[in-house]
Symmetry: none
Subunit: 405 residues, 2 copies
């Protein structure tokens, strides 16, 4: 039995408020060259006071040593096993959900780039000079007007930011077993859509025909005369969190991707800004409407990906400054953690364990005095897998029934 | 999905050097009677300096409380689940591999002892007076000359040390479901080879016929007039490490058993001496030929089995003294650990967690200041299963792809 199914058997109907504050990529490294992590460096009087009154611990997102993408990182936090085939959310689906596009489990999505090819059809820019979002919207409208369907499959083309768009195909018997058309290099034409399995053949043929028609429409464009498609994928039929945990789940995230994941898990996505104070304001406004609040702050990850430790620490300080407003709502359980680590020295996601704090009347007040990597190692929660977190949050809210007599 | 299959999906081709230094049985106990472990007692300035620049943690070989043999202990370190039937290496196979005898997955191996029986056929010495290796070789040659096959199955008899030999049978449809013929006590005859299942019946009948013929050949021997057979087993078809982890794997071990295990896992066994400086010299000579170096030091385990804490500490000090030579090769990742603990007070393998150190540019430099059991408990790596180690080593070498988008 998967852990989430076990929890679902024990979950009691909600009579409490749980806040899960995810600081994306918050975990960092101590190395000879960087002796302090972002959490070490940031001045966080409120988080540290919370740590002194809470239990600390660490999460491993997927498996030891395995670095998760944003999808698996969050699915783990919500209780799914990200390594199970049932929880495999592809890049195309993530992007579609991130733009707020409704998807059904029979739909096929891909992430698209506009690109530039020369007279011989060889790619000269895989991002079409990073055209503006307005230009991208113009191109998508032009394509959509010209190509509404192909072989009985409806085609939806939606602009993203800059040169990015999302393609959704709707129809019977679509397969995600189609390879990327992005060759990942210049001087060659886009790849033909190839089937990754026999099951993918009909879809690959349809997509090849579609790409041909799209390129015909783009033939007179000076810059964006090609499309590159990646991450063909379908929405997995994930158990919906409201049913699994018997609570009303609201997602408060400023960035599309995280809204998308939350939506796929069955949360209601609440529109809000990207800054912590904006997100907290949105949470306060909807405080009576939900039992579980997924609050996502992206900027820690962005700073980590930029290798900018000072910026990462500054984001954490901003969250710390706004924390009293969140605490003023008096949640029964407040957890602070990340979906993975994004150490500044690596400028990338990593596998390093993620700091975790759980504050609740039922939390063991351990000896830890600050919220950082080294202190969490001493915490009472110990080392958990991310998919074990939801059970701990429910438990700390008094919402898991005793197992067995 | 087993962890090793998951890792295999993510492993990137090698562009780095990983050294896994296994101090066999290094973990020890603190008790009232023995207040210091071997690592506590040994003076290890180099290991301690490494610990200050590295991450520490602990490994559990198989499952908590479970004491592993040498086979399972090492299979875990290499990423297999030693408790899975697919990774079950029997004693006969281990001995055969340890003598450098090539084995195929259809061959059947057993570990043999020469023994002494009296005129009534009852055993008086299960080790035939611990005859010399030279005597053992003479007896094996005599048996091999007399018995080359039985019922169409070819028979290979190879001398080991003292009274020990290895029997390998080659032919179609051989089964390992045959019980030991060693009764484990004196005053009774050797047991008949009995089938442990219906599938083992034909093999048991052949082996009974073989034993009868071997005893006939030995009838005129004054001392070694019986054979006792144990650990009938076949080589499991283990996923080969070179393919699994996409790297060239070299094994540097002075003792046969560990060479055998490494060979069964697909490593190239490099001849070398038994002392640490000899092994390091061999590693240095082949530095360009491999991406992964399994370095095995046996003497810590031997001292532990002897209950000789001072000798165990001395072996560790010898390794410490030679460590700079290994570090001079500048491996991207150096891990120091054991395959299990062999506490001197127990004079045996044990289940106690095994100290682990990982040094790499991507290792979190935790607050630990020495390499010993108590310090590893505070380490950033936390508690891992042995089979999770390879993923951590690959991660610390930057060689695991991100999982999911």
């Amino acid at each position: 039995m998967q852990h989430i199914d076990f929890l679902s058997r024990l979950a009691l109907p909600a009579t409490s408020k749980i806040v899960l504050l995810v600081l994306d990529g918050v975990g960092d490294l101590r190395t000879a060259a960087q002796p302090q992590t972002a959490l070490d460096r940031a001045s966080t009087p409120n988080l540290d006071a919370l740590a002194r009154a809470a239990s600390l611990g660490r999460l491993t997102a997927v498996r030891p040593g395995v670095t998760p993408g944003s999808g698996p990182g969050h699915l783990g936090l919500f209780g799914y096993d990200p390594a199970s085939p049932e929880a495999d959310i592809g890049r195309g689906v993530l992007e579609a959900l991130g733009l707020g596009l409704p998807m059904d489990t029979s739909d096929l999505a891909a992430r698209g780039n506009f690109a530039t090819a020369d007279g011989d059809g060889n790619l000269t820019d895989r991002r079409a000079g990073r055209i503006s979002t307005a230009e991208c919207e113009r191109l998508c409208a032009k394509l959509q007007a010209a190509v509404a369907e192909v072989d009985g499959v409806s085609v939806q083309i939606t602009a993203g930011e800059s040169h990015r768009f999302v393609l959704i195909l709707r129809g019977a018997a679509l397969s995600a077993d189609v390879e990327d058309t992005d060759p990942q290099r210049l001087g060659v034409p886009p790849r033909m859509p190839r089937a990754a399995s026999a099951a993918g053949e009909p879809s690959a043929r349809r997509i090849a025909k579609l790409v041909e028609r799209l390129h015909a429409v783009l033939a007179d464009e000076p810059q964006a005369n090609r499309v590159l498609l990646r991450g063909f994928s379908k929405l997995p039929a994930l158990p919906q969190l409201g049913e699994v945990y018997k609570m009303r789940c609201g997602a408060f995230a400023g960035y599309p991707l995280y809204r998308g994941v939350a939506s796929a898990c069955g949360m209601e996505v609440v529109p809000c800004g990207k800054e912590f104070n904006e997100v907290v304001t949105a949470v306060a406004e909807r405080w009576n409407d939900f039992d579980f609040f997924f609050v996502h702050i992206k900027q820690t990850d962005t700073a980590g990906e930029d290798g900018d430790l000072a910026a990462k620490a500054a984001v954490i300080e901003g969250v710390d400054a706004g924390l009293p407003d969140l605490l003023a709502l008096d949640p029964d359980v407040l957890a602070v953690t990340g979906d993975h680590s994004t150490p500044a020295p690596m400028k990338a996601h990593s596998w390093h364990p993620i700091p975790l704090l759980i504050h609740s009347k039922l939390a063991f007040v351990d000896d830890t005095t600050a919220f950082n990597e080294q202190e969490t190692l001493r915490g009472h929660l110990g080392d958990l897998r991310s998919r074990e977190l939801m059970g701990m949050l429910l438990a700390h809210a008094g919402r898991l029934a005793k197992f067995g007599a």
